[in-house]
Amino acid sequence: MVTKPIEGEKRAFMTGNEVVAWAALAAGADIMYGYPITPQNEIMHYWIRLAPKYDKNFLQTEDEISAGFTCVGGVMAGKKAFTATAGPGNILMQESMTMAEMMRIPTVLVVCQRGGPSTATVIYSQQEVTLTCFGGNGEGFRIVYSTSGQQDLFDYTIKAFNTAWKYRFPTFVLGDGYQAKMRESVTIYDPEVRGIKMIEPEPFVGKAGMPALDRDPAHYRNTYNLEEELYEVVTAMAKEFEQIAPELVEYQEFETEDCEVLILAHGVVSRAVRGAVEALRAQGIKAGHFRPITLRPFPAEQLKQTVQKAKKVLVVESAVGQLEKIIKQSTYGVTTPMTNYFRPGEGITVEEVVEEVVEEVKKLV
């Protein structure tokens, strides 16, 4: 049996879905529970082809409700379990993810956003931000990484397993159909060569020893008899989530030092915005870009600082303000005027962003 799926570092030309499967292998994931939905199917396809070579497991469940709950079970049994989905599947998985949240089960879920509402389209979209960040019933204590391309997908899928097992909150890699299906160059690596130490999983149930004799039995529940009991659990969790947030938040800034127009975008749209910043700078327009990588917890403080420096803010997203909502909440009190460019379920090009900014700049003078 080959143990290391990737030796050292390698250059590859892959689709995002293939990258995720390799990253999960490199991260030492043990088992995937999955249910087909476009555009994430090939994560499963690659995983199941590679699985027997590395002594890994896979189960195709009857639906996403089951994929989510079997994933929770796999983690409870002490394995690095993960799943992937999109769109209506993401909705069905929220039920299990709220349980993972309350029980602090380190599940990893890769979301390849597709255009919603309803069945809609399968490729371009950032319309699963609200759902992924805040889930369903509950408070949405979870960690969400928004990726912008293949390298991110590899890096953050690996990271997601460590984040999940370290902090014990469900962790999401939020990609999209475009990243999932396009092919581009990427460096894949054994995390060890980059000095990344993978956290060893531990069982929640089925630990060694006789329950009640050698150890307490593990009793996990997600039902509470009294409101006060639940209040205590949730309040403590909220406090902890807030405390760990500074260690977790990630973001990138491009040319924000002296920027007059600040463009905000996340995920794959961030790449168009970066291109636009370069083009605008070449025209003498002082544009800059802030990209939140963790959408939950959100780099609110850092964003606030940068927004205050600009004269104008433009939010660009492939949705009708799902990111904007988070931004507005996070920058409450800041008076910099904010406009938006929304293309729900559509791709956004460099040229469109440039045009939009040029229009906005005209209004400034």
């Binding site: 043990d30 088992i31 529970y33 497991n57 189960l59 469940t61 009857e62 639906d63 409700i65 089951s66 709950f69 079997t70 994933c71 929770v72 079970g73 796999g74 983690v75 409870m76 049994a77 002490g78 394995k79 379990a81 039920e95 299990s96 349980m99 029980m103 069982p203 929640f204 149930v205 089925g206 630990k207 020893g209 006789m210 329950p211 009640a212 039995p217 593990a218 009793h219 996990y220 529940r221 997600n222 039902t223």
Partner: protein, 252 residues
Amino acid sequence: METIIEPKMPKVWRKETKPHKFCPGCGHPLVLKVLGEAIEELEIQERTVFGCDIGCSLLAWDFFNVDSVQTHHGRTTPVITGIKRANSNLIGIAYMGDGGGYAIGSQHLVNAAARNEKITVILVNNTIYAMTGGQMAPTTLPNQKTETSPYGREIEATGYPTLGPEMVSAITQEGAYIARGTVANLRQLKKFIKNALENQVNGNGFSFVEALSLCPTNWRTNAEETWKFVEDEMTKYFKVGELKTPGKKEEA
């Protein structure tokens, strides 16, 4: 001098959580009692993971000295499946009500059975949704009054009660164990549950036991009527016995 006789409780019973939280006269603790004894006699306490559903079964979340997980309504089967798939050495028990197993979670029951998951499902049939206050369940008997069938269950409008073990029996292959017992015959119910667990220990396949049970609270019955209902009324429709045992093919 008065002597107080302490009831002898199996080791798997968690004394700290007794008295339990079920209503007086409830059938759940009877099923749990024989389940506990079966776990003890098979000496699988150390590697058992007990999963319970939402519904009155959730009151069993800390009932035993075994590792447990209480999950969402209808989702106990996939949680236990996930655990078992990740660690085949564990003995996974999914414990649920008829609502959890035959309504909201039926897709999980059907597919786990069809895949021959090596887990044990124990389903308590009290003919109603008890925890939510006595609504109609898939197992509610014809003409039975519930909160959502106040004039009696009309078969024309709502169909016949689900015959769970019969259905599971029809979709499982060799290696499955399927039985229906009743809290009115605890010794037999214990044998069925023990057989079902042993089937998992032997790595044969899916095992499923439905237990006919009591809910005097929602049935609004006194002791006599409660037992009459479970012994006479329920058994007219739900036949007690083993439906499938590994090795032995179904009787034609």
